[in-house]
Structures are given as C-alpha cells and as structure tokens.
C-alpha cells in the first residue's frame, strides 16, 4: 500500500516536472519571455566574462594539448599536408602579386562592398561553445563597443559567422558551420545558392544547386549579398570541395570547405554592417 502510494507520488512529481519543463520551453520560445531570457543570458555572460577571459588565457594551451592528444594521427597527416601547401603557397605568392596588380585596377573601376571600408570591431574569442550542441563562440566585445545582433563576423581568411546575441561587454557569434546557419553565396559562373552549416568540422552544404550549374573542385565561394541577405556581398566563404550528381535528381550536391578553421579561432573582426530591414 505504502509502496503503491510512493510510486504514484513519484510518477506525479515526474509528470509535473516534465510539464513544467515543456511550459518553460514553450513560453521562452518567442515574445516577451524570449526577450527576458535573452537579457538574462546576456547579463550572465557579462558577469562571467572577466573570469572567462582570465581562464581562457591560461587554458588555451591546455585545451590545445588535449585536443592534440585526441587527434595525434590527424595532426601528423595535417603536418604533411601543410608542408605541401607551403610549397604551393610560395608558388601562388608569385602569381598573386601579378593578380594583385590586376585586382587594383578592377577595384578602381568597380565598387566591391567587402573591400569598401566597412568599419570593424576587433575581438578576442573568450569561450568555446557553452553547450556541446551549439556551434557558437563568445567574444569579448559587446554593444558598448558597437557590436550588434546580425552583424557579420570575419577573420583574415574569410567569413566566420554572425552575431546572434550581444550583451554590454560580450557577444555570441553563430559560426557558419552551425546547422542553423544559412549563407547566401555565389560561385562558379554566376551560380547562387544557400550554404548551410553541417556541424563543427564538417563542410557546408549548398542547397538547391541546379544540375546544370557549372562548378569545379577548388572554385571559390563568396557571399552573394542578394536581396535582403544577412551578409554583404563578396566575403570569401570557402572553396568547393566536392560535387556530386545523384542519378535521377535535378540538383547537384555541392560541399564547401570553409576558409576559416572555426575550431582554432582566437581573434576576429565584427563588421559594423546590418542587413537591410
């Protein structure tokens, strides 16, 4: 009898707690409650950011050590690949100097938005994703430094992502590899598509690429800046790494390797540019 009452009580508690959790998820999903949750999250991030900065400075080498241990074989092959790339890059440097001269001429004639002096805020990454299911990083600049939600974030190599949340002194950047991230891109000879993240360490997937679209491995992929795009035009995103034409399908499967190694980000720049309303 007592055991039965206890079981009933346990089940009732479980049901109440599950309903409470579902209610919280539902209420916090949109509207005023969502704003409140975002405000609390931003405030909490601001409070703990000094601690994060200090510990990040000490622990970056430790984190790299463990990451290296976990992927020693990968590090060896990565080293060999990088040595090959150094040789290729030296050759490309010579070619690039010639191309630069041509580019300077083109720039003089045509406005290129990405190279057109968008103001930027330099920032340091102070925290990796707080959840294993987020593909975000936290930076040490916020609204007091001119950083706002929706602003694109770049590194020297290309597009990193965009700001999805900004507190007074910190902000959260959603990386392009986040499965919720979609970037309008152009590639090849006038093709446009949406590049969707596939998780950290995975290439981006181009959506709805026509089978007739002409592209090739190594083709550069840039932000398109079309219509109400979330990014200005011309930011380098990556290169085409794989093209597949599934039999019977009218679309091609195109993968893009991002230029930016998002797992090793330390410094980046927030472009003070907002998408058109």
């Amino acid at each position: 009898m007592a055991a039965s009452r206890r079981n009933t009580s346990q089940r009732l508690t479980l049901v109440i707690l599950l309903l409470a959790s579902i209610t919280v998820i539902t209420v916090a999903y949109k509207g005023e409650a969502r704003h409140a949750v975002t405000s609390v999250r931003n405030a909490a991030a601001d409070v703990v950011s000094p601690l994060q900065r200090g510990i990040a400075a000490v622990l970056h080498p430790v984190g790299n050590f463990f990451a290296g241990m976990a992927d020693y074989g990968g590090a060896l092959s990565e080293n060999q690949r990088l040595q090959l790339e150094v040789g290729q890059l030296r050759r490309q440097l010579v070619e690039a100097s010639q191309a630069q001269a041509q580019l300077d001429q083109i720039k003089a004639e045509e406005r290129i938005p990405f190279a057109d002096g968008i103001p930027e805020v330099l920032a340091q990454v102070i925290s990796s994703p707080a959840s294993n299911f987020d593909v975000t990083v936290e930076i040490d600049r916020g609204t007091s430094n001119g950083v706002g939600v929706g602003m694109p974030v770049v590194s020297g190599a290309g597009l990193v992502g965009s700001v999805i949340s900004a507190g007074g002194s910190t902000a959260v950047v959603q990386l392009v590899t986040d499965p919720r991230s979609e970037v309008g891109v152009r590639f090849g000879s006038g093709n446009v598509a949406l590049a969707q993240g596939q998780g950290e360490g995975n290439p981006l997937a181009l959506q709805d690429v026509s089978e007739t679209a002409v592209t090739y491995r190594g083709a550069p992929v840039l932000t398109s800046g079309l219509d109400v795009a979330a990014y200005p035009s011309g930011i380098p995103v990556g290169t085409v790494s794989k093209v597949r034409h599934p039999g019977g399908s009218l679309t091609s499967q195109v993968s893009v390797s991002p230029y930016v190694n998002v797992s090793e980000l330390q410094y980046l720049a927030v472009l003070q540019w907002l998408p058109p309303a």
Binding site: R6, S9, Q10, T13, L14, L17, L18, A20, S21, I22, T23, V24, I25, A28, Y29, V37, V40, R41, A44, A45, V48, L51, Q52, I55, A56, L59, H60, V62, G63, F66, A67, A70, D71, S127, S128, P129, A130, S131, N132, F133, D134, T136, I164, S165, V172, Q174, D178, P179, R180, Q198, G199, E200, G201, N202, S263
Partner: protein, 175 residues
C-alpha cells in the same frame, strides 16, 4: 539543504563556464550540470533528485544558446531514471554502481538532449559528432563522479531525519 544546493548550482555554473567549456577534446567538453543531475537522482532519490535536476537545468540553460528549458527536460528524465535505478537496490549503491550510473547517464543524457532537441525543431546533430559528444561527456561524468556524488551526499544529509525519499541512500538520516 536548499542553500547548499544553491551553492552547488552556482559553483557548477562557474566551473562549467570558466573551466570546462575551455577544455575542448575532439570538439566536445565535459558537462558538470549533467553529472550533478545524475548525482542528484542517485543520492536524493527520484522525486527530490528530479526536482533538483529541473533547477540545475534552468541554471545551465542561462549559459547556452539552445532553447531555454531543454536542459531541464533532459535532466529531469535522467535524474528520475538514476533515482529509480538506485531505489531498486537492496542497500547503498557500490562505487562501481555509481560509476556505471555516471557512464550510462552521460551517454543517455547526451543522446536524450540531442533527440529532444530534434523533437522541438533544433537541427539534427550528425551521428559522428553525437558519438564524440556522448563519449567525451560520459568520460567527464565518470572522471568527476566521486566529486559529484560527494557534493550531493553533503547537500542532502544536512537535515537530520528529513523526509525519507524512496531510493535515496543519503536522505538526511542515512549518516
């Protein structure tokens, strides 16, 4: 008891955000809140353990970008399961049992979080990434299991003769 619990929740937030998030192994990091949820269920029993796990989830969700409340939903289920498993034992759980609970709770918690996330419209996580997260999180749970369980024994045992929750082996009168 609840003051000590609040102290543990606050400490967990500091450790998670300041320390564990920075030590990333193969793209994933340990989850202090999940370990505490497992410990809560195991030590305080299914009812109080699940209630504590609910609160831990609310605190954990302040520091992430996933939907608010998702961690609570996941932790409640994990803590309740851990509490039920413990209540089925004839006496106090052995250390081996606690480690097994930490291991299985770590794996189950990671998979459950990803699964519940998909149910409420979050993007699915590639299987390979999910496996890595489950391994790293469960390894973290096993590594710090003794500390997590000790913290909850300290928390729950503060009120002598308090309500004896089913399955709790340290519910105030156990010491």
């Amino acid at each position: 008891m609840w003051a000590r619990f609040a102290l543990i929740a606050f400490g967990a937030a500091i450790v998670q955000v300041g320390l564990l998030n920075q030590v990333v192994v193969a793209g994933a990091h340990a989850d202090a809140f999940l370990l505490l949820a497992i410990s809560a269920g195991l030590v305080a029993g299914p009812q109080r353990g699940a209630a504590m796990a609910f609160v831990l989830g609310l605190v954990a969700d302040v520091f992430v970008q996933t939907p608010y409340g998702l961690s609570s939903l996941c932790y409640v289920l994990i803590a309740f399961a851990a509490g039920l498993a413990t209540s089925a034992l004839p006496g106090r759980p052995s250390f081996g049992f606690k480690l097994a609970a930490a291991l299985l709770g770590g794996i189950g918690g990671s998979l459950l979080f990803a699964g519940l996330g998909v149910l409420i419209g979050q993007p699915s996580v590639p299987l390979h990434d999910l496996a890595v997260v489950a391994v790293v999180v469960s390894a973290g749970c096993v590594l710090f299991a003794a500390l997590g369980f000790w913290l909850f024994e300290w928390t729950v045992a503060v009120v002598p003769g308090s309500h004896h929750d089913a399955g709790a082996y340290a519910s105030g009168s156990a010491r």
